[in-house]
């Protein structure tokens, strides 16, 4: 592995060396590139980005993506709020974030240029669709003069390309209306970028033919536009060079890889967990952004015995999952923050029933409806405490898109072993972002099987053998899981306080005190691995994160170390219970900085629990942290 890769994002202009290949134009080698595709929400930018990502993944680069789109399905055309973008960072080495600032911006219209140009570093390349830079579209976003002509883009390398008209020209023999032909302009742009960066093209052509299998004419038109874009790059003199980013062969341990988004990894994790537990998976869910993709994905896999129930509301979603869990299924509900609020009472019931259940919260901007398509991690305290009574629930959080797979399996492990609802906190950034993921061998997956109760577990004073639904395993404090259909174990459970052991209704004060403490002790005693600290230089400052901030924090830490600033890093997967060694780790450092995409929720928890004067660093703008910004903030703490 190259040593200098730790300097990821050190400069905005990538290091280049020029060589000549068999191509007619010179080819430069880059170690990494950040591209942003931007256009109207109807322009197909997410699809374009997905395709470029797939090409890049199959080429073997490391990559990280950041889709960014409005909540409106089709916002008014040509307006700033309607701009949809997709950023992709790919490299010949391992990378951690979608990148702070794009090296290349593809702007399909004036709105896309205006909304994104401020993010570009000097010297960045801008490919603009000149056909859209006419008076009205420019006026719509407040361009009095054309930015392509008034010199305002002087700091950048602008490639004016008539994307729309060239696409229409390329498709003139397809018998399509102008409007239909124009819709392929994203594929023209993709073809051009694919040429610029030497991306393999077979995958995209195959994809188009599959996607439009029922409309072969449209399929071929898109393929033709894609090829026209490629050929345009090859022939035009405006693009003097093309770029190669070598596969990141040294970044990946040996194995088979695929590109994966967080929501897909989570879905696969759930199916894998169901198989490893030998339990049928039952998803009760109500559609909500950005969690719906899990419902969609699981619905495709009925041949794994997966039942998906699209409920009438959030409450019914969790209710059905809990009912299925009572019957011996692996019950799961998926949602986002507003849905968690609605499910709270049912989560409390699950705490009381002590049945396994997964509550998956793909966090988004809040409060209330908030920012449905933007990321945030402000549901931590809701997950921890958002219920009536003392209702402890384990909380775990994945750190990268691929890690959503492992986190799902870990969450299922805890739910089953301890007979408890478990929160899994992902977020919009992980859900929609993607990265290469090593496909695990099925044999490596943990055995999650549990035993259902099959007979009496208690002997009364008179020698009678009986079944007590709340007689606990002495080690885990889990109660037996006796599923309907098991003869002799008929029992009733409910949300009313129960007598220890028998599970009968009990209003006895001492029993309630005991049960409250026992439910808490069960969660507190869940086995979670110790927190690992990455501290090669014996630093005095620790940066502690959780969830999706892992990438940006790690990138910032690399920068600081390259600059000779020692800093220690630790990242929490388990937020309830915390790892046993967390308090000891925190006390080792003079400064503890906690960056979060909220106003300091983890910081509040650790300050309360460990009396550590943690420094909270916060951002709630709907976007992930940028590595540079974090590095600057961390530097202040180090130098303090």
């Amino acid at each position: 592995m190259k040593t200098l890769t730790e300097g990821e994002d050190l400069s905005s202009a990538p290091a280049v060396t020029t060589t000549l290949t068999t191509r007619t134009t010179p080819v430069r080698q880059l170690d990494r590139v950040i591209i942003r595709f931007a256009g109207d929400s109807g322009d197909g930018m997410q699809l374009t980005g997905d395709r470029f990502t797939s090409e890049t993944a199959s080429f073997g680069n490391d990559l990280s993506t950041l889709p960014n789109f409005p909540a409106e399905i089709r916002a008014p055309a040509g307006t700033l709020p309607g701009v949809s973008s997709f950023q992709l960072h790919f490299a010949d080495h391992d990378i951690l974030t979608p990148g702070d600032a794009p090296n290349v911006l593809v702007a399909m219209n004036p709105a896309a240029l205006k909304a994104n140009v401020a993010d570009l570093p000097r010297g960045a390349e801008i490919i603009v669709n000149t056909d859209e830079f006419t008076k009205r579209p420019m006026a719509k976003v407040g361009y009095a003069t054309s930015p392509l002509e008034d010199g305002s883009l002087g700091a950048y390398h602008v490639h004016p390309v008539a994307l729309t008209s060239m696409t229409i020209e390329a498709l003139k023999d397809f018998g399509l209306s102008r409007k239909e032909a124009e819709r392929s302009k994203n594929m023209f742009a993709l073809g051009l970028l694919s040429w610029m960066y030497h991306r393999p093209t077979e995958g995209t052509e195959k994809f188009l033919r599959t996607k439009f299998a029922k409309k072969p004419q449209i399929a071929e038109a898109n393929v033709a536009a894609f090829r026209a874009g490629w050929n345009f790059g090859e022939t035009t003199e405006d693009f003097a060079v093309s770029y190669e980013v070598a596969p990141a062969t040294s970044a990946f341990p040996a194995g088979t890889y695929r590109n994966i988004s967080g929501n897909l990894a989570l879905s696969l994790g759930l199916i894998a967990a169901g198989r490893q537990a030998d339990l049928p998976l039952y998803l009760g869910s109500y559609p909500i952004t950005p969690a719906s993709d899990i419902l969609h994905e699981l619905s495709k896999h009925k041949n794994f015995g997966v039942r998906t129930f699209q409920a009438e509301d959030e409450i019914a979603g969790i209710g059905a999952a809990l009912g299925a869990a009572f019957g011996g299924s692996l019950g799961v509900t998926t949602t986002s923050g507003p849905g968690v609020a609605l499910k709270s009472e049912a989560i409390g019931l699950a705490v009381s029933l002590e049945l396994p259940l997964l509550i998956i919260d793909i966090q988004r901007g809040g409060p209330s409806t908030g920012l449905p398509t933007k990321t945030e991690q402000a549901d931590l305290l809701q997950a921890m405490y958002g219920r009536n009574g003392e209702a402890p629930v384990p909380v775990i959080a994945p750190r990268t898109p691929g890690d959503c797979f492992d986190a799902a399996i870990d969450a299922v492990r805890i739910a089953l072993a301890y007979r408890t609802p478990v929160f899994l906190l992902s977020d919009g950034y992980l859900a929609n972002g993607s990265e290469p993921w090593r496909v695990p061998e099925v044999d490596e997956l943990p055995d999650l099987r549990v035993q259902f109760a099959s007979g009496p577990n208690h002997e009364l004073a008179d020698g009678t053998e009986v079944f007590w639904p709340y007689k606990r395993d002495p080690k885990t404090l889990a109660r037996p899981w006796a599923v309907p259909g098991t003869p002799g174990l008929e029992h009733r459970i409910g949300g009313i306080e129960k007598q220890d052991g028998t599970g009968n209704i009990s209003y006895d004060p001492a029993n309630h005190d005991f049960m409250v403490r026992t439910r808490q002790a069960k969660i507190d005693n869940i086995e979670v691995p110790d927190l690992e600290v990455d501290d090669p230089h014996g630093a005095k400052t620790l940066v502690l994160g959780w969830g999706s901030t892992f990438g940006p924090i790690s990138a910032a830490v690399r920068r600081l170390r390259v600059e000779g600033k020692p800093i220690a890093q630790a990242h929490l997967r388990h937020l309830n219970p915390f790892p046993k060694n967390l308090g000891e780790v925190l006390k080792r450092y003079e400064h503890v900085v906690v960056p979060e995409m909220n106003l300091g929720q983890l910081a509040t928890l650790i300050r309360a629990k460990y009396l550590v004067d943690a420094i909270s660093y916060n951002q709630v703008n709907g976007m992930p942290f940028k590595a540079e910004q974090l590095a600057t903030a961390l530097k202040e703490a180090i130098d303090d």
Binding site: H301, G319, G327, N504
Partner: protein, 352 residues
């Protein structure tokens, strides 16, 4: 009952003959003395042996309210859940375990106020659930506020000047929500209650039984007109499939269709009009007449209240179809292979 009930064909049978005692749990029943719930509990416990099902394959799920304590008293599996959510929880259970006979016990507040959404969606989905809706037209457990079935102007602690909102008619609501089986019965009429339970058990899909139940503490005598022998003769219309809809002393009254409006009305039967009296058809596809029957009763006096099975039609059952889809998916794609799924269609390999 010796014949196999198709709706319960997947539920294992009891090995030995059962008695009412087998279905009584060891828990002390804690309803107020004189509560109508006792009669319903006894009727259900008495009816269960008829079904002859393995009792470990029977589950009672309830919400919150007086009647929702019901599962504790049944020696079957049971869940006393949270307010209004029993139909949703039972849907998850029934749709994942077709070998269970799942019953929901709920009340007018639980099912029609806080849980109204779950009720209507369970009905339209036609999940294999039997819902017993105890309607006492009052909130009992919270000590006497008016409920969504209380008559307008009800004076209660929360409505000292009278309640303002128009009540739901649960049978009308259920028929409007595409229910495939809707019946009404009365707590004190054990024989009728049992016959309706039997019809519900035999039905494939969701069955809703509205049980008029007396709350002797907060709404005593709400259904007295249907129980008092003399008054009941004029007030109660007993529906039986295939029978003329006649009631009153010696069947002196009958239900006919108003030719002008298409609505139903009650007439005094004469030789001339006897041929116009409707024959009750619970199995007809159209819900129109069942709905019209549900509107006959006067909501204030309860005169002309039909009891019995309003509607019982065959319609695809949600949990059956859900299972069928799993089987179809396996037929079409083969049983899922995890390694193939994890790898997806687009992989690359590195050697290091």
């Amino acid at each position: 009952m010796t014949e196999v009930i198709e709706a319960l064909s997947l539920v294992p049978k009891a090995e030995a003959k059962q008695s009412m005692k087998d279905f009584k749990s060891d828990q002390e029943v804690r309803w107020c003395p004189g509560c109508g719930d006792y009669a319903v509990l006894a009727a259900v416990q008495g009816f269960m042996p008829e079904l002859g099902l393995a009792k470990e394959n029977i589950v009672f799920v309830s919400g919150i309210g007086c009647s929702s304590r019901f599962p504790y008293y049944m020696n079957t599996y049971g869940m006393h859940s949270i307010h209004g959510r029993a139909p949703a929880i039972a849907t998850g259970l029934a749709s994942s375990r077709r070998d269970l006979s799942v019953w929901v016990v709920t009340g007018d507040g639980d099912a029609l106020s806080i849980g109204g959404n779950h009720l209507i969606h369970a009905l339209r989905r036609n999940v294999n659930l039997k819902i017993l809706l105890f309607n006492n037209r009052i909130y009992g457990l919270t000590k006497g506020q008016y409920s969504p079935t209380s008559e307008v102007g009800k004076i209660t602690k929360s409505t000292p000047m009278g309640s303002l909102d128009a009540p739901f008619n649960p049978v009308s609501l259920a028929i409007g929500a595409e229910a495939s089986f809707v019946a009404r019965t009365v707590d004190s009429d054990r024989k009728h209650l049992t016959s309706v339970l039997r019809a519900a058990a035999e039905h494939q899909g969701t069955a809703l039984i509205e049980i008029y139940q007396n709350c002797n503490i907060f709404n005593d005598g709400a259904f007295e007109v249907l129980k008092d022998k003399q008054q009941a003769e004029e007030a109660v219309i007993r529906l039986e499939h295939g029978q003329l809809i006649r009631f009153g002393a010696d069947g002196s009254k009958g239900v006919v269709r108003d030719q002008a409006t298409g609505d139903l009305k009650v007439i005094a039967v004469t030789d001339e009009n006897a041929s116009q009296i409707l024959i009750h058809d619970a199995h007809t596809t159209s819900p129109t007449t069942a709905f019209a029957l549900s509107r006959l009763a006067d909501p204030d006096t309860l005169h002309h209240t039909p009891i019995g099975v309003f509607r019982s039609v065959d319609r695809p059952v949600y949990d059956t179809q859900m299972s069928d889809q799993l089987e179809t998916a396996i037929e079409q794609k083969g049983k899922g292979d995890l390694a193939t799924l994890l790898a997806g269609n687009d992989t690359w390999t590195t050697g290091r």
